[in-house]
Subunit: 355 residues, 5 copies
Amino acid sequence: MHKLHYPPPGSAPTAVSVPAEARPTSIKLIEYDAHSFVEKQVGAVDELLDSLENQKVTWVNVEGLGSVELLEELGRVFQIHPLAIADIFTVGQRPHLDAYDRQVFLLLQMVYQNDELELVFEQLSVLVGDRFVLTFQEEPGRDVFEPVRNRLREGAGNARFLRNDYLAYILIDTVIDHYFPAVEKIGEAIEGLEESLLEKPTRENLREVHEIREALALLRRAIWPQRDLLLRLWHDDSELLSDRTKPFIRDTYDHSLALIDLVESYRDATVNFMELYISGLSMRTNEIVRVLMVLSSIFIPLTFIAGVYGMNFDRASSPLNMPELSSPIGYPAVLLLMAAVAGGMLLYFKRKRWL
Amino acid sequence: MHKLHYPPPGSAPTAVSVPAEARPTSIKLIEYDAHSFVEKQVGAVDELLDSLENQKVTWVNVEGLGSVELLEELGRVFQIHPLAIADIFTVGQRPHLDAYDRQVFLLLQMVYQNDELELVFEQLSVLVGDRFVLTFQEEPGRDVFEPVRNRLREGAGNARFLRNDYLAYILIDTVIDHYFPAVEKIGEAIEGLEESLLEKPTRENLREVHEIREALALLRRAIWPQRDLLLRLWHDDSELLSDRTKPFIRDTYDHSLALIDLVESYRDATVNFMELYISGLSMRTNEIVRVLMVLSSIFIPLTFIAGVYGMNFDRASSPLNMPELSSPIGYPAVLLLMAAVAGGMLLYFKRKRWL
Amino acid sequence: MHKLHYPPPGSAPTAVSVPAEARPTSIKLIEYDAHSFVEKQVGAVDELLDSLENQKVTWVNVEGLGSVELLEELGRVFQIHPLAIADIFTVGQRPHLDAYDRQVFLLLQMVYQNDELELVFEQLSVLVGDRFVLTFQEEPGRDVFEPVRNRLREGAGNARFLRNDYLAYILIDTVIDHYFPAVEKIGEAIEGLEESLLEKPTRENLREVHEIREALALLRRAIWPQRDLLLRLWHDDSELLSDRTKPFIRDTYDHSLALIDLVESYRDATVNFMELYISGLSMRTNEIVRVLMVLSSIFIPLTFIAGVYGMNFDRASSPLNMPELSSPIGYPAVLLLMAAVAGGMLLYFKRKRWL
Amino acid sequence: MHKLHYPPPGSAPTAVSVPAEARPTSIKLIEYDAHSFVEKQVGAVDELLDSLENQKVTWVNVEGLGSVELLEELGRVFQIHPLAIADIFTVGQRPHLDAYDRQVFLLLQMVYQNDELELVFEQLSVLVGDRFVLTFQEEPGRDVFEPVRNRLREGAGNARFLRNDYLAYILIDTVIDHYFPAVEKIGEAIEGLEESLLEKPTRENLREVHEIREALALLRRAIWPQRDLLLRLWHDDSELLSDRTKPFIRDTYDHSLALIDLVESYRDATVNFMELYISGLSMRTNEIVRVLMVLSSIFIPLTFIAGVYGMNFDRASSPLNMPELSSPIGYPAVLLLMAAVAGGMLLYFKRKRWL
Amino acid sequence: MHKLHYPPPGSAPTAVSVPAEARPTSIKLIEYDAHSFVEKQVGAVDELLDSLENQKVTWVNVEGLGSVELLEELGRVFQIHPLAIADIFTVGQRPHLDAYDRQVFLLLQMVYQNDELELVFEQLSVLVGDRFVLTFQEEPGRDVFEPVRNRLREGAGNARFLRNDYLAYILIDTVIDHYFPAVEKIGEAIEGLEESLLEKPTRENLREVHEIREALALLRRAIWPQRDLLLRLWHDDSELLSDRTKPFIRDTYDHSLALIDLVESYRDATVNFMELYISGLSMRTNEIVRVLMVLSSIFIPLTFIAGVYGMNFDRASSPLNMPELSSPIGYPAVLLLMAAVAGGMLLYFKRKRWL
């Protein structure tokens, strides 16, 4: 289950509450245009002032939410709306897009798999302004953006020729594309489960189905709002997004649709699995119960017959008392009777297809 | 189940029916601008007339719906539509927004947890006018707005610099944010249940799932219409809401979406739980039944054999009558036969994986 | 199940078919303005001609659909579209709103509870014209509108000061508000059922759940289209509805939303009930079966042991034949063995938590 | 299951494939205005040329799709789009409306009940042009339009005073209204099933529920697209439909909504039936199993006791060996013991409410 | 389960990754107008330059995605957007339509049945430009377009008189119409299954239902987005699609609706099947269990009676000890008693309808 973070009710809407497990803040600046590329670690917010004025694309990546002061100073320098600042600190939020006056604020959820192969989400806030892109990550270590940085460093493709909106696009696209391996992994788990369920359902399968369902529920809750966000971004009419970038946004939107398609069809599959499991199980139990009951049913009348001839009525008292016991063929006759009863019942059950 | 309140059918639409458990009415006035702050208990409606004329923001908080006269007088002074007055008195209503001529009327449901940890809803009516905000609460005691009053008293943040629409926003935001702890609590109950259901489902779990479902149904019925209300408020084009307040309304709207997300995913979880419960249960019973039937099935033929040799056929009458009984190795042979039958069946069941 | 009424296929669309159980027609006229109030039984349609010309609000209430001629004459006098006339006679219809040239035709379903506490629906057709409201009821006896008439007679509230659209509103509002007690009743039945289902489900509960479901299905089918109708009425841009009446229509629309909310949540509840019932039942049976099987399982090996020592092997023939029988402690030893087997199995079952 | 007809993939879109079971084509012309009425069988398409030019309403009814040439000639004379011609020949299609340049093409499905009371669908294509209506039926025999023809012959109502769009409306209305008896029939079957399911579910019921579901699925697939088609027709802004006809179209649209309402509520009912069936069945089996297991459980310990005293331990060997057997009250004591055990268990089961 | 293809996250959006199983690329050119028809295999992209300039319709069909260079050269010559190029190479994608500046890019999924009768999808990319249509297929062998080529070669119908948008339409239409045989095949499988399920459900049926469900899931995921794509194409307002072609697109759209209709109703059918299967199975087991339990229940008391008279109480010790054994009619009386008990129970079970 998703851990819930929320500011204490009644607090001011722009009040900032640092998450308990927040990591120390570090700031990295990347600045480039078609001809130049600068990358450096930034100690104080003042060092960014130059970048605000030149004509290059500025990407400020903030890792770790430990320092409120640093972020509020950033907020003042880049004129970030206080609600956006508060959003950055409230981790575990639903992805959404907030259009502010001359900025677009995007709150995304990145997905990773940790060492135990569980899904881990990390909140990424992206603020797209005039010439800059600000990104805020919870964790300093995990870096999905390294390939992006490499492409910028190398100036490969048209990345460095385009404006900051294209940079924002690349970052969002990278976040969305990271969902594919996570979804694929679940697809493989489902495929493995399928055969097991059709062959011989076990108690363990039940837990596996349940875990897959929970993972899918988490992915759905992350992907659907990001789809909405991309749709709004595509149809956005602010001037922050250029016409050249729009087809790329649509492409990422198509990816989000493909992800939703997959997640929904996996979800349908798990519903079918649950039914398969239950009906396979009851099929199996029914078979066993049927066979055993038929078996018992055959022996019960036989045991009764044996019981009758085990009675101790005094043959001496009356010729009516169990004359069979003295008959010279009494025993074989009874054995034959038993065989006939058993055979008759077997035949009857066979004909009824109960065996 | 929600208690249903409604005016007797056929009564006039604006007819007021005081709820049976209504509490005595008390009125509190808060009046402020950037430079001043006044807070006082008001005895008669006349005392509010001054506040209507000055340029300060006026917040009149009415607690308890016991006095129809007082509220109707308020209605006349603040020119409240008779339908709004009737709505205030009909407690337990579905949240909704009614735009009147120069006023917006909001009917909200606040949520609390009582001492038995059950969810309790309290209706809050908010009337936003030109320079004033009127709030009507059912219960005088429970005060969710105390932190808001404190912020106003201290002049913290920008609360006192903004118009009455911002005050209305803060109040709505406080109401919505109070849903988070309630929803979180349910999330915890679900998590606790999950392990128990996967390990060993008990009868008590069934009642717990049912109670969680009911609580979720109540929360859904309260949150969904409040989401609609916030959306309408955000897109409202009356002049009552300033552009500066709009981003804040959107923020609260985002909160309501996050709440819905949570409630819906908890709801899905309980559906899964029900299935887990049922299939876990039948899995367990199936196991027991299988083992016991196998056990019985092994002993039934053995008992039959014992029964046969317990028959009293008269060996003297004929050599065909139970000659086994006189055989010197009759008894050990029969014991061996029994062991062979039991062993054979055990093997068969093992091979069939019924054990 | 709802009884289906429809004209024979292939008949003219405006053909009128009097329902089999139609009651004799009677016409009542109410005419008022702020200063006057007239109420009279009308024998012939001619008596209404005056009312058509004066400036007062005219309410013609027709009870019983027995006389086609009378209604067709009314149709000519009030210029009612032939399709509307045909609709009035086709009882049991889905509620709908038909906007004609200068008239609005509403077909509503009133709900009552009969003496056996079953839901009974009665079709009410309302025709709103320039200065008049025509209402057509199936049954002459049942009068939900008596409180409305009283309010008009007494001139209470603003009823008599407003135009005929307000009268139409009051009538619709009365119809909708009559659904609340019907829905409330179902709510109570659900609450009663809930405890029974959680404690000890009985066969009777199944029938009760089924009956509640059917009643809810009937209510849904009546309320949803009336909600749509009210929404269209609220957003209607014909001049028949004045701006003063619109907020009242919206209020009734809010009532219909509240009703739908209730009906849908009761419906969800019955779905849960069905699941509760089934799983509670299988829980109960599982418990019984488990306990009884464990019991039997303990006795079956014991009976087998007793069977063994009931065999009649001839001890004289060989010392191998049942030497235990002659052992001085044979009997107590066997009893001890039986106790040990029983005890061992009980322990095993306890440890497995099967008991 | 619906039989699927489709042109071979890769063939030209306007290619015509005559259905295997096509019947010979015959053409009937009806021509009328307010003052005249002509009805005749037409041998060759040329005979229709006159009708194209005069000012009367022309209705050409084509029965049987056996002759491609005749229909293609009709197509040339009436300027029918080749896609419409191809549609006429592809029977068993989903109802739809295609607006061509100055014609509206409607493809409808008529419903009948054959002698075995099964639902049979027949495709009806309607082409509405300037002054003419062309209808194409699969089967020559079955005539739902005879009452329409009679109304035209007799000049009853306003049928003959109106344009050809009204004729088209009458035909569509007749098709839709023919669904009512089919749906009603299913409603009766459902009602019959309901009692049986609540009282005592049988294996036959399962098949009946299944057949009702299939019939409902077929009706849904026919009615929903016809509803869409009527909605589009109502909101159509081509000049082919006059304002006088529009309210009639809306009336038929209302009928389609009523049909959908019925079909959907019957569908919900069958879902409930399935649940009723399953839970009623398991309730019944549970009862039987419970009673029989309790019965067996009582006798099993008694049989064990009898077994113990049937053992043959040698009383002579030791006073410890079954001294009870020699006790003067041994037998009655054991019988009492058995009665006590049975009574005790009965009491226990009663108290546990297992009996 | 669908195999998932996606570019490595973090790679450039326009990066091309050749699928592992890509086949060598071959290019075929078809060029025609009303009077001429040229068809040739093309070795190098340069050979297409002429075709770009003349006024004929140009269809370039590329089979096999093995050569990135060839396709990128094509991209430069025909000015294809890099995202479209990347899409062509990412096989197994969700169908979608991307409108570029003066081109429309369509990504479709063709469906085939392989030799094992499984569904196989193949991605078809269609690029519609000014005077040309480019198509890209994964596999060189399978040619669904041969009938289309034949129609062009023969100049049958109006294919060669129309612009390239009509050619694009024919190709799309052919792709969609190929779904009909695939869907029909599933329909037949469903019909076969139905009877088996109603008569006697087997374990094999479960797997068949599951496989049908998976095939339907794959078809749904392919058809739904293609329906959306056709709807967008129909309502497209770019000048690439002429008004003459639009009705044809609508026709194909109607086909896609018919396919969806079929797939959805088959899906409903499989849900019903699952329920039929489960309830038929439990019905069957319940019957067997009932009959066998009744049988056992009759014998258990009889065996008990036999057990009682098999006890060895010493008649000599006391006249109270089993005097029945010495009674001259003891044995027949006990036999009668047994018959009476068995008869009584049979009667009771018959009356309770347990037999």
